[in-house]
Symmetry: C2
Subunit: 352 residues, 2 copies
């Protein structure tokens, strides 16, 4: 058995689930109202992906995700000294953008399942899922355009959108590159991709919430960097879970990322290490197109031996430390700063 | 031979191609600069769809379309009394949104060709085409967010985006509805769809250009309605060409829309007419899944006999008259008003 990551990272604050629930409850009416403005068919697909209904529109209470991004937007406003409701438009916008990107990413990645339900493209078809994503994207822009303080906010949102799309492009392109040689994917490139694909929207949630709460540009810029570090740390931990996570917790098969030949950070860091295990790992990855469980287990052992797991957790710690110091340096209001710290720690540590 | 539509509608102004070229030349540097900000891979797909390059990036001079929307934005600014350059950001934004919607629509409709070249999804794959469309969408928002006068403009753009997406949703849903009975598609529903799917972005081009040129809200709202009427008229004429257009001019097979069983306006208007030919048309459409050329010719004759062609051209005339009167009622500056009138007339009449 490998050492548990919870031995490496400190435990999470106990109040985070309540905090998430408070923010979901606060944001839900505005999010519902926005989705109801959609074309009814597109609105059904949106509600399906939020876990509010089944195909055909029958109400259901499925998991629509924890709502980390909406909570960050609300806490961003509170940290700026404004009431929570000032961050609601930002929360709605980032939640819509997040769901749009999930819908389209699932098409690009061919994923049939999300949160144990059929993905939208699998349930409704590829074309309708493309369009539903577009509608959510447009609704996010419209939501912000209707909000006082829109212009500064729109710059933050559009910059994040551009980064999310660029990160996804790199992620798609990485799959086609070789495991070794000058064209290989470097661990640093992967971290940049993760910062864009995952970190940019977390940073946007925080900074947009703070901007609508009246924070000055220096504070919103600093909060954006905090969110980006949190996103990068999150991805590092997610990659560790993608190989060594408990299937009962992650809902994914053991060694899943290795069976899918995913170029995740632990693998890339292992391949980059000047050790014999790295060369054995490279030979194994290059020789097998569809690794079975035995080969995936062998690859996982080589990634571990070559230091890939340690490197990923070290990066997670490093970016989490940047989150902590970034928050400590800011003049944030009241309990929101502590709640932010707890929420970002929870996001990164999660099931570890 | 059916009567030529050019007998029904007045001839077009001769200066429109020069006008379009002037606006393309004015907008091209800013559009190029925006596309160069994209991720290089997504930028290549964008440049491919603009007709600037082949797959792989080799330069080429293919048709990227006439650039009607960018010209409307430039003329909108000039009509507001501002210099043409005031409308450039609006021109770039609407051109990016237009291209985004073409990329995604081609995926939804499964169209392999556009302007006699492979569509982006056909050339690069569905996932990359989804992402390239998203990138163009984000770039449009970013372009406007960077522009002075952004907030009012963002409301116009986001409202248009919502309508474009809703119109496309209705268009997709119409295909699944029956030809007759209470669930059939009414001609009025089709016109509303066309106004959203095609008219909203034309209206946005005009109103956004005018808004950036400093026009008051009443003027931008009136110009938006003008653009919507022009889009509806355009679609009516496009539908007539989709059945009776010259394949050498349209690049589409004769009776193409009937062979594809498209629920276009002439067909829906014919089916709605209380005449025997309407009932014969309904029986024909309901009995054949893949009409051959002989059946399509028979259907075209029945649409004509039931008055579908006449009804579509009457609607085109009606909406074009609304364009003319809308422009006449506005206090527009200098030659731009005449140029707008000429351009919108050209757009509607085109190859007729």
């Amino acid at each position: 058995m490998t050492p548990s990551a919870s031995e490496v990272l400190a435990p999470t604050a106990p109040s985070v689930p309540q905090l998430l629930e408070r923010c979901r409850d606060l944001v839900r009416p505005a999010l519902t109202e926005a989705v109801e403005r959609l074309h009814p068919w597109l609105g059904e697909m949106a509600a399906y992906s939020f876990g509010w209904c089944e195909m055909g529109g029958a109400p259901v209470d499925a998991s629509g995700g924890k709502g980390v991004r909406q909570a960050l937007a609300v806490l961003g406003a509170e940290a700026a000294g404004a009431p929570a409701r000032s961050g609601v438009a930002a929360a709605v916008a980032v939640e819509l953008v997040h769901t749009f990107s999930l819908l389209h990413d699932d098409i690009m990645d061919g994923d049939p399942l999300r949160r144990r339900r059929a993905t939208v493209w699998k349930a409704y078809g590829t074309g309708p899922a493309v369009l539903a994503g577009d509608a959510l994207f447009a609704l996010a822009v419209e939501t912000l355009a209707r909000t006082p303080g829109g212009p500064a906010g729109m710059r933050l949102l559009s910059a994040a959108l551009t980064d999310v799309v660029s990160g996804q492009a790199d992620d798609l392109l990485f799959a086609a590159r070789p495991w070794t040689g000058p064209e290989r994917v470097r661990p640093e490139e992967y971290r940049t991709m993760a910062e864009r694909k995952t970190g940019a929207l977390l940073g946007c949630a925080l900074s947009l919430g703070a901007a609508l709460g009246g924070a000055p540009p220096a504070t919103t810029a600093a909060l954006e960097r905090v969110g980006r570090h949190a996103g990068t740390a999150f991805q590092m931990v997610d990659d560790v879970l993608g190989i060594w996570g408990d299937p009962a917790v992650t809902g994914k098969p053991v060694h899943g990322d290795l069976r899918e030949r995913k170029k995740s950070y632990p693998v890339l860091a292992a391949l980059d290490a000047p050790v014999p295990a790295a060369r054995r790992l490279a030979r194994l990855l290059e020789s097998v197109d569809t690794p079975d469980e035995a080969l995936a287990r062998r690859a996982a052992a080589l990634v571990l031996e070559a230091g890939g797991r340690t490197a990923a957790l070290a990066q997670a710690r490093r970016h989490l430390a940047a989150v902590e110091s970034g928050l400590a340096d800011l003049p944030l209001a009241g309990p929101a700063a502590d709640e932010l710290r707890a929420l970002l720690g929870f996001l990164v540590r999660r099931e570890l």
